[in-house]
Symmetry: C2
Subunit: 389 residues, 2 copies
């Protein structure tokens, strides 16, 4: 298996892009990434494209990647359309990594693109619910704020995690988003505003949720052995692990957690431990989920995520900066674009290109955690990636 | 890159399965393939699942593979949902091949599953049209019989290909289907019946088209170095090439044809020429397209496909047996299942397990050609695979 480097990344600003099509968004992210990598676009010999909702929302199924990439000027290469709900971006990254790792090509493109604003909010919400098993969770009417709320309620009961600690995550991530020109929300919020905003699914309030959004993000991967041809700042893929929900009894309190299992495999593959991680992007589709995820990533012992956040460890200048981009809650969460936007942020951080939100000193190692969908009480798909300079 | 073998295949009978769900169909194909491979199912450490239409037709987007495979008993492994319209099955095969070739795992599963009968035929037809670029072809109202009709008309004008020759393909493939217990249509048809059946898009008549259908097909792939652990009859992947439409001017008569370009790359990769092919499954979504495809695969010179068929070369006992399964026109064409059903047929032929339609002597080398979607006047996605004993 060949070693793989990320040599360029790019994304659109996430937001409500009523005047941009799926193609417009995808084309922009691809070409920004190509510029960042400084490559001849003809060197790209494989593309994986993640999109989750265009079939239901825009009536474009099947060959979504071909339509977007042809519009961007690409054809005559293998194009694989991949999907794994909110982890579709991670899945595209994983697929492009495989193509380079197995020697199929030297340079590959991973693109995630999503357009949730389709002129029909009810349809968008319905489409988002199709990221569950539609024979069970989906048709019962449960939606993701409800799923997260149940997980958070259990955490509160078991470990005493407080609403104040949960609000602090939203406050920190909105602060980070205010420093990120690509973020959908650039405004700061206070603990009081977060706690007093409309209750969505107790304990999740409106300002803890991630917004509906449009956007795209892309990464250019290449074989380590040729990375020097393109860049002086390659970022190496130390591990990229994709997983799906284990088959467990969801009522079993000792059932393995998919984030933890996947992260442990990534650490083992990379030969890097949680203590070595200097920047992290985690999947906070509801901001307080960050507390659960940092525990699963072993940044702190189980149950201590709340106090860990409260002590400021996860701030940009803390011991373990988390979601410097603003995370899903502030940078935004156009489903299939998210995983690659997380990759973008960690690559920028490791290259010292993160501007006002740069971790100082420039970190050596970063981790990305990106979950998608729900099945049988567990996240359906999980990607964990460790990148290093 | 490691060499890869197919150690087991399985499929459902294709047909109108009003009483079977997507999960029922997928589960059946997976377990039949596992039985055929004789493996412990826990050895499967990667799965690629192709499905094209469940988002629009059944309301299940995003995590289709997880829902199907969990129902079949699988979790805790990487599951990648892939899509490339009618080439989704090939794409799943290609993705599973990459996972084994790159050393991620020793044993991988490729599954293609489709349910076109959703209780609303108009919706099914609309969904099928989303395998085009919906900003162009799709919204203009063109559908696949029309696209194929234009290609065939051009072939008739340029080379004198006759309606009789085109009907002979349908007759041969229905004959082959009558010998295949997995085929949707088991009835023989005559040239007169084909030519006198209802005109769909001149020159394509009803009995030349592939039917609406439900079904699933699966393959188990493993590293060549461990194949001996599982089977005495490994079938090796000599080449698996995935491609997308080149960017060309569709009015340019000298524009490269995607089937030809992809096949030439597969021959080159395999170190095998068209003269070595002893059995072929080609994408006859409209039966006469077989004439075009065998030319692109270099079985005969360009323009001579009609006479080549007329001389009986493509019959089971001919010099170049094509679509021994009955092809898409008779075995059926549940979109994402087709590519893997083609793999099933060639694997059975190379193992001498094709029953009444077995090519004699048992062939050494077979080829699969599987195209999907349409974009800019060309097939959007193309998979060509060469398998050998």
């Amino acid at each position: 298996m060949r070693e793989v480097a990320v040599i360029g990344v790019g994304m659109t600003k996430f937001g409500k892009w009523l005047d941009k099509s799926l193609k417009d968004l995808g084309r922009e992210a691809v070409w920004v990434a190509i510029d960042h990598a400084g490559i001849d676009p003809r060197d790209i010999q494989y593309a994986a494209v993640g999109n989750s909702m265009a079939g239901i929302l825009l009536g474009q199924e099947s060959i979504r990647g071909q339509t977007i990439l042809r519009d961007a000027g690409f054809g005559g290469i293998p194009i694989v359309n991949v999907e794994n709900a909110c982890a579709s971006g991670s899945t595209a990254f994983f697929s492009a990594w495989m193509a380079v790792a197995c020697g199929l090509c030297d340079v590959a493109l991973a693109l995630g693109v999503e357009k949730l604003f389709c002129g029909n909010t009810a349809l968008s919400i319905k489409a988002l619910s199709t990221a569950t098993d539609m024979d069970f969770e989906g048709r019962m009417g449960i939606s993701f704020p409800g799923i997260y709320a149940m997980r958070l309620k259990r955490h509160m009961q078991k470990y005493g995690t407080t609403r104040h600690q949960m609000a602090l995550v939203a406050v920190k991530n909105h602060h980070n988003g205010s420093l990120n020109p690509y973020a959908q929300y650039r405004n700061e919020v206070t603990v009081e505003e977060v706690l007093n905003s409309r209750m969505i699914a107790d304990p999740v309030t409106l300002l803890m949720t991630s917004p509906m959004g449009d956007g795209a993000a892309a990464a250019i991967l290449c074989a380590k052995e040729v990375a020097g041809r393109y860049t002086t700042k390659p970022i190496y893929v130390a591990a990229t692990v994709l997983n799906s929900a284990p088959i467990t009894d969801p009522t079993d309190p000792k059932a393995p957690n998919i984030t933890k299992v996947t992260a442990m495999k990534a650490y083992e593959t990379a030969g890097i431990g949680p203590e070595d991680i200097e920047v992290a992007e985690v999947h906070d589709a509801m901001a307080p989920a960050e507390i659960l995820n940092i525990e699963h990533l072993q940044f702190c012992p189980e149950g201590e995520g709340g106090p860990f956040v409260e002590a400021g460890n996860t701030a940009i200048n803390g011991s373990k900066p988390v979601n410097t981009s603003g995370g899903l809650a502030a940078r935004g969460h156009p489903v299939a674009a998210t995983g690659l936007a997380q990759i973008c942020e960690v690559v920028w951080q490791l290259r010292g290109e993160a501007g006002a939100r740069q971790v100082d000193p420039v970190p050596q190692v970063g981790i990305i955690q990106n979950g998608g969908g729900s099945i049988g009480g567990e996240t359906a798909s999980m990607g964990v990636h460790i990148l290093k300079r």
